[in-house]
């Protein structure tokens, strides 16, 4: 009904096809492919920021609030880079990604914080993603309308984006070798600059490694309410000690969720008898240090067997 009334008064707003910036950090990794697909369906050109490099990291350290965790700092650097190329960027307010769960509170203040930090540089387009209040499709459709698209067009784009994002992740190749599992928040695991060196090093050491794919926690909300942490805990509970050689957690310095969820991961894996190591990343982490720790971890496990 509301959509219908809105359609009566609708005028296609000029400038609705202006390109929009999307950072390659933080929120796009939480819902991979969704936002790109949505804007593509609307016909809005998407400008992605460049992948993270050492320079991004250094820039982040300079411009961002010192006490933020690494992914939020990186977001600031990515946005700054986008600011030179587009006049509006998209930063959603993520309150809850899955019904019954909540997201990290830092994401709730993000659009306001970005607006405060980069005022005058670009416009911040935002949408409230709160699955506890309304389904994602409605959120997307409303975003389309606020961007100046016709209600029917917005709804169609929302459906299309959801269908595109729902395509199942490639199944993990099954082999007889025992594997290492790399866990962490999706935005850390999906960032090639942060996670790839670790995967490469493990492969160099001759062990099979698998990244935990981003996804919704399947079960009912239990101990942990933060969605990404609950997803990790669930995956750890389902691990088979015969198939999993060890678990490596990739966490970022000052991550609030991990500081509280860490004891749960540790306890679960201790009960299952699976070795566990947490690697903390910050802007100063040196590759050599990580290499040494990974080597020691893999060797000590090889010695156990």
């Amino acid at each position: 009904m509301r959509t219908f009334i809105a359609s009566l008064f609708h005028r296609n707003r000029p400038g609705r096809l202006r390109p929009i910036g999307l950072p390659r950090a933080l929120h796009p990794h939480l819902q991979p492919g969704l936002w790109e697909a949505f804007f593509a369906a609307l016909g809005v050109p998407v400008v992605l920021s460049e992948p993270t490099t050492r320079a991004t990291l250094e820039r982040a350290e300079l411009i961002s609030e010192t006490e933020h965790c690494l992914p939020v700092k990186l977001l600031d650097a990515h946005l700054e880079e986008l600011g030179g190329r587009v006049d509006r960027v998209f930063v959603p307010r993520i309150l809850s990604l899955h019904r019954g769960f909540i997201s990290c509170p830092k994401l709730a203040a993000l659009p306001d914080a970005v607006r405060a930090q980069f005022r005058g540089r670009f416009e911040v387009v935002t949408a409230d993603v709160d699955e506890n209040r309304r389904p994602l499709e409605q959120t997307l459709a409303e975003l389309g309308r606020t961007l100046g698209f016709a209600p029917a067009e917005s709804t169609a784009a929302a459906r299309q984006a959801l269908a595109a994002a729902a395509s199942p992740a490639a199944p993990i190749a099954d082999s007889d070798r025992r594997r290492y599992l790399l866990i962490g928040h999706p935005y850390n695991l999906a960032d090639a600059y942060l996670a790839d060196p670790i995967v490469r090093k493990l492969e160099e050491l001759g062990v099979a490694v698998e990244r935990l794919p981003a996804g919704p926690p399947r079960g009912a909300p239990a101990t942990l309410r933060w969605d990404t942490s609950a997803h990790m805990l669930e995956a750890l509970c389902a691990l088979d000690p015969a198939r999993c050689a060890g678990v490596i957690q990739l966490t970022s310095f000052n991550c609030g969720c991990d500081s509280m969820a860490g004891p749960y991961y540790r306890e679960t894996l201790k009960a299952a008898g699976i070795p566990f190591m947490a690697l903390t990343l910050d802007a100063h982490s040196a590759l050599a240090g990580l290499d040494t720790r990974l080597e020691a971890f893999v060797e000590s496990i090889a010695g156990r067997a």
Binding site: K106, D112, P263
Partner: protein, 361 residues
């Protein structure tokens, strides 16, 4: 012998919290502030990156358990920040160390929280007890307001604090609502008797941020007294009376109701975020409106909600020409460092005041 019940230390409110459990026929075990020993115990036992409030509170429960206290009580938060997991992780830590202390959760747990179910007090004494606790909370609020005002202008440093401690001791002894009211009536004359220097114009500084740190003298390195000693009249925006009203959704029309704060903060922050983040932004705006000279934003290092609104506070500070000092505390914060920063901040504010006196409402 009555069993002991450990209650989280929460500044001067600890005595009000202690009064609230009397009817449960338990001996409250609490402290007016964290001590170096409890903090050390907590730091040793807690996850490395947990916030300072968690570490202090955990240490408090460990100390209580070591002294033979069997029960503890901790709020059950439904919010988005780490407070939600405090109780469970603390219980786990106590169990790992072989300490026998059970922590009851309080709030959001049915009509009759487990704590009440377990001790099962009679209804009438229970209600009477609640009334006493509420009166004591309001009394502490009133006391705090007096001491902030007097401390900035006292002739003899330490007078206001001495009177505060005397008043608190009397308040602790008061056992019934009429007694508490009588005690509250003595506050004003007692503070009026403190010799003050009326020619001094105190700076006005607002304290806002995370609740435990705002209230715990040890954790915040005695911020209020340091600032008071430097001739600043502080206003601590965490008052438990307001908070309780907000939790029970009464006092919708009070100045500090959630609804009012939300409306006030809207131009800068459109969401509650969690913890006291929205309150921080709203109160900073209010400080600017009411002509405060400066604001100190207090948070444990890495506090999820407070840190995420820092860029907003910074913008607000520029827009409204309101100096904001950001103080993060962890167990390594040095007292001398804190004092130096505060002294520098106050002298900067003094200079500003001389150049351009703010208009006072």
């Amino acid at each position: 012998m009555k069993p002991g019940l450990a209650i989280q230390p929460w500044g001067n409110y600890s005595l009000a919290l202690a009064a609230s459990v009397e009817c449960l026929r338990v001996e409250p075990w609490t402290q007016r502030s964290t001590t170096p020993e409890t903090l050390r115990l907590g730091v040793e036992a807690s996850p490395e990156f947990a916030c300072l409030s968690f570490k202090a509170c955990t240490g408090h429960f460990i100390k209580a358990a070591q002294e033979g206290v069997r029960y503890g009580v901790m709020v059950n938060s439904r919010g988005t920040c780490r407070l939600r997991y405090y109780r469970e992780i603390q219980q786990k830590i106590l169990q790992e160390r072989g300490l026998d202390l059970f922590i009851f959760g309080l709030g959001y747990d049915g009509l009759k929280p487990p704590l009440i179910r377990h001790f099962d007090p009679d209804l009438l004494p229970f209600l009477r007890c609640c009334a006493r606790a509420q009166q004591k909370t309001l009394a502490v609020d009133a006391l705090e307001r007096e001491v902030w005002r007097v401390r900035a202008v006292e002739r003899q440093p330490g007078d206001a604090t001495r009177v505060l401690n005397e008043c608190l001791a009397d308040l602790d002894r008061a056992r019934s609502v009429p007694e508490i009211r009588a005690c509250v009536r003595t506050f004003k004359p007692r503070f009026a008797a403190v010799p003050i220097d009326a020619t001094r114009v105190p700076l006005r500084i607002g304290l806002l941020g995370e609740a435990t740190l705002l209230r715990d003298r040890y954790l915040n390195h005695n911020l209020e007294e340091i600032l008071g000693g430097l001739g600043a009249e502080v206003r601590n925006f965490f008052l438990l009376g307001d908070e309780v009203r907000n939790i029970f959704r009464i006092g919708l029309f009070s100045r500090n109701s959630r609804w009012r704060l939300k409306r006030l903060a809207r131009p800068y922050l459109e969401n509650l975020v969690g913890g006291h983040a929205l309150d921080s932004v709203a109160h900073a705006l209010r400080c600017a409106q009411e002509g405060f000279d400066g604001v100190v934003h207090v948070a444990p290092a890495g506090c999820m909600p407070e840190v995420s609104v820092r860029p907003i506070l910074r913008r607000l500070s520029q827009d409204l020409d309101l100096p904001i000092l950001e103080c993060s505390f962890d167990e390594h914060a040095s007292h001398v460092g804190v004092v130096t920063r505060l002294e520098a901040f106050v002298s900067m504010l003094r200079e500003r005041q001389e150049k351009k006196p703010r208009k006072r409402p």
